[in-house]
C-alpha cells in the first residue's frame, strides 16, 4: 500500500537516472556542502605539499616579540617563544594531512586484507581474525591509542602506529561482511564452477564489488584520525615541542591560557579539516549508498 502511494514519486527518478546525465550536469548536482568540504580538504592538501615555498616565517624560529596579539604583521599573533602562529598553523598541515591519509590508508589495507581473508576462507582463520577484531574494538579507542603510544614511546610515528592498531578492525568487519555477501552471488559461483583459482575469484570477482562502504567510512574517518592525532599530541604522546603540530601547539596554548590566540589558529585548522572531511564523507555516502536516502 505504501509502495503504491509513493511509487509515482519514487520510481520515476530511477528511470530517468538510468539514462546517465553528463559529467557537467552531475557536477552541478553535487550538493553545496560536498563542494565546500572538497574545497577545504583540497586547500589543506595543497598547503601540506607547498607551504615551504610560500615564503612564510620559519615555523620553529623566533619571528617577533613573545605572545603578541594578532596584528597586521602577525595575523594570528605570536606564541610564547615569539614564533609566528599563522606560519606554524599552516606548517601543521605537513604533519596532520599525511598522518590522516597514512593511518587510514594502512588501516584500510590491513583491515581489508584480513577482513577479505576472514570472509573468503572462513572457519578457524575467520574465527581468529574476528576475535582479534572483537577484542581490539572492546577498548575505548583513545585509551588503547594512549597505552600503545606510551608503550612504544612518544613520537609521531609511534602515535600513527597506535592509531592504525585502533582503526584496522572497523575495516576488517566491513570488508568481511561485504565479501560474505558478494561470495554468495551467482557470478562468483559461476567463476568457481568455471575453475577460477582463489586469488582470481577474490581479486576479480569479489573485491571490486566490496569497496563502496569502505570508501565511505574511510572518508568519514580521515577527520576522526586528525582529531585523535591532535589529541595524542595534546596529551604529549605525539609530536614533541618544537614541531608545529596542531595538537601540541594547542597544548602550548593551554599553558599560556590568557593568550587565547596561541591555541586559536591550530584549533581552527583542526576544525576546518575535520568538518571538510565530514561534509565530503556525508556527500559521498548520499551519492554512493542507495540505502541512505
Amino acid at each position: 500500500m505504501t509502495a503504491s502511494v509513493s511509487s509515482p514519486a519514487v520510481s520515476l527518478p530511477a528511470n530517468v537516472a538510468r539514462s546517465g546525465p553528463s559529467f557537467g550536469r552531475r557536477l552541478r548536482q553535487v550538493p553545496l556542502p560536498v563542494l565546500i568540504g572538497g574545497f577545504v580538504v583540497l586547500f589543506w592538501i595543497i598547503t601540506a605539499l607547498t607551504v615551504s615555498f610560500w615564503g612564510l616565517p620559519d615555523p620553529i624560529q623566533i619571528a617577533g616579540k613573545r605572545l603578541q596579539a594578532p596584528s597586521l604583521s602577525h595575523w594570528l599573533g605570536t606564541d610564547a617563544l615569539g614564533r609566528d602562529v599563522l606560519s606554524r598553523t599552516l606548517y601543521g598541515a605537513v604533519y596532520s594531512v599525511p598522518i590522516a591519509i597514512g593511518v587510514v590508508a594502512v588501516g584500510v589495507f590491513i583491515g581489508a586484507t584480513l577482513g577479505a581473508i576472514a570472509g573468503y576462507v572462513g572457519g578457524v582463520v575467520d574465527g581468529i581474525i574476528m576475535r582479534l577484531v572483537d577484542v581490539t574494538l572492546a577498548f575505548p579507542p583513545i585509551l588503547l591509542a594512549m597505552t600503545i603510544s606510551a608503550t612504544l614511546g612518544p613520537g609521531l610515528v609511534n602515535a600513527a602506529i597506535a592509531m592504525i592498531i585502533v582503526w584496522w578492525p572497523i575495516y576488517a568487519r566491513l570488508m568481511r561482511a561485504q565479501v560474505l555477501e558478494v561470495k554468495e552471488r551467482e557470478h562468483v559461483e559461476a567463476a568457481i564452477a568455471g575453475g577460477a583459482g582463489h586469488i582470481r575469484v577474490l581479486g576479480i570477482h569479489i573485491l571490486p564489488l566490496c569497496w563502496t562502504p569502505i570508501l565511505i567510512n574511510a572518508t568519514m574517518d580521515f577527520g576522526q584520525v586528525v582529531l585523535l592525532a591532535a589529541s595524542l599530541s595534546f596529551i604529549g604522546l605525539g609530536a614533541s615541542p618544537p614541531t608545529p603540530e596542531w595538537g601540541s601547539m594547542i597544548s602550548e596554548g593551554a599553558a599560556r591560557f590568557y593568550s587565547w590566540w596561541v591555541a586559536f589558529g591550530p584549533g581552527m585548522a583542526i576544525l576546518t579539516l575535520v568538518l571538510g572531511f565530514s561534509f565530503l564523507g556525508d556527500g559521498l555516502r548520499d551519492m554512493l549508498d542507495p540505502r541512505s536516502k
Partner: protein, 340 residues
C-alpha cells in the same frame, strides 16, 4: 437477496450521497517534473452502500482514497471536489480533516501487522482513537469501550486481548482489531484498502462477513479497494474499475460482472478463476500498466488492448453511460452488441 434490498436503499439515498467526488485530480510534483496519478475521476457512495474500487496496483485506487483523506505527501497536488455529507474535503484545513479522520471516516489498511504501532498495546491504540475525538472520555471508560469494541468484532477474551501487543495477535485477529479501531467513533463511512489481501483465504471470508454485518447494523457506507474481483463480487453493490488514474467502467455489480463492456474489465474477469472450477488456464492480461510519466496518448489501455482501433491512440475515451453502466471505451457499444 440482501443485495437487492441494499441496492434499492442506495438508489433511495442517491439524491444525497454520503460522499460525492467530482473531477478529482492528483499530481505528484518532483524535481523531474509532474506526474498525474489521478486524471479526473467521479465517484459517489451512499449510506449503507458498498462501492468496490478495482484495479491493478498502481492504477490509482489507493492514491484516490489517500487524497480524499489528505494523507498524501506534500508533493501531491489535489484539485477537483470531494464532498463528504456536503462538506468539501479538497482544500479543507488540517484541523477540519483531523476531526473527520477516525471520527466520521474510518480507515482499514491492507497489512494489519504494519498498520498497528508495534510498541503500544492494541487496547491503548483503540483508546487513543476514542479519546482523540471524545476529549472528556476518561481513560477507564475508554478502555471499557475498547474492550466492548473488540468483543463486537468477535475477538474472544477481549479484556485480555486488549492488553496484548499487535505481534501477539494472529493476522485475522489483527484485522478484526483494526476494524474495531476504525469503527470506534461510529463513522458514517469506512474506507477499506485491500482489507483481506494479507490474510488466508478462510480468514478473508470471515473479515468480509464482519464488514458486511457492521455495514448492515450501522448503516455505514463502505468503500472497498481491492485488486481482487472475487472479493468485490460477493460484497459490493456497485463497482468502479480503475486503470492508470482513470475510471474505465462503473456500474452495479451484476451489470459489470455479467455484461462487462470495457476490454480491461473483460480481461480482469477472464483472469479470475471460475467458481465452477471448469475453466482451464488462468488468462492474465498481457503487458503491464504504463508508468505515470509515460502514459500513451489516447486510451491508456490501448497498448494492451486486443480490439483497439486508430482513434484509440489519439483520443482519450470519455466515461459515457450506456444502459446504466458507465464505460470509457470508443468501442463499448459494438462490444456490448457482440457480447449480448
Amino acid at each position: 437477496m440482501t443485495r437487492t434490498e441494499t441496492v434499492a436503499s442506495s438508489i433511495a439515498t442517491q439524491t444525497a450521497p454520503l460522499l460525492e467526488v467530482r473531477d478529482l485530480k492528483v499530481t505528484f510534483n518532483s524535481p523531474d517534473g509532474a506526474a498525474d496519478a489521478i486524471c479526473g475521476i467521479d465517484l459517489s457512495v451512499g449510506a449503507g452502500e458498498v462501492l468496490g474500487i478495482v484495479g491493478e496496483s498502481g492504477s490509482g485506487k489507493s492514491v484516490t482514497m489517500m487524497a480524499l483523506m489528505q494523507l498524501l505527501p506534500a508533493s501531491a497536488q489535489i484539485t477537483g471536489s470531494a464532498r463528504f455529507r456536503g462538506q468539501e474535503l479538497v482544500g479543507a484545513t488540517s484541523s477540519t480533516m483531523r476531526q473527520l479522520r477516525g471520527a466520521r471516516i474510518g480507515m482499514i489498511f491492507q497489512d494489519p501487522l504494519t498498520a498497528f504501532n508495534p510498541v503500544l498495546t492494541v487496547g491503548a491504540q483503540i483508546v487513543e482513537a476514542l479519546r482523540l475525538h471524545e476529549k472528556d472520555l476518561s481513560k477507564k471508560a475508554a478502555w471499557e469501550r475498547a474492550v466492548e469494541l473488540l468483543a463486537e468484532v468477535s475477538i474472544p477474551q477481549p479484556d485480555r486481548r486488549a492488553t496484548q501487543y499487535p505481534h501477539e495477535f494472529s493476522g485475522g485477529m489483527r484485522q478484526r482489531a483494526m476494524i474495531a479501531m476504525a469503527i470506534a467513533n461510529r463513522p458514517d463511512l469506512l474506507i477499506a484498502d485491500e482489507p483481506t489481501t494479507a490474510l488466508d483465504v478462510t480468514v478473508q471470508a470471515q473479515i468480509m462477513d464482519l464488514l458486511n454485518r457492521l455495514r448492515e447494523e450501522r448503516n455505514i457506507g463502505l468503500i472497498l479497494i481491492t485488486h481482487d474481483l472475487g472479493v468485490v463480487a460477493g460484497a459490493a453493490d456497485r463497482i468502479a474499475v480503475m486503470y492508470s488514474g482513470r475510471i474505465v467502467e462503473q456500474g452495479s455489480v451484476d451489470e459489470v460482472f455479467y455484461n462487462p463492456r470495457h476490454p480491461y474489465t473483460r480481461g480482469l474477469l477472464a483472469a479470475l478463476p471460475k467458481i465452477d472450477g471448469e475453466a482451464g488456464p488462468l488468462v492474465a492480461i498481457e503487458g503491464t500498466p504504463p508508468s505515470l510519466r509515460n502514459r500513451p496518448a489516447g486510451c491508456a489501455f490501448r497498448p494492451r488492448c486486443s480490439v483497439s482501433v486508430e482513434r484509440c491512440s489519439t483520443i482519450v475515451p470519455a466515461l459515457l453511460s450506456l444502459n446504466g453502466v458507465e464505460t470509457a471505451c470508443h468501442r463499448s457499444e459494438e462490444l456490448q452488441r457482440i457480447s449480448a
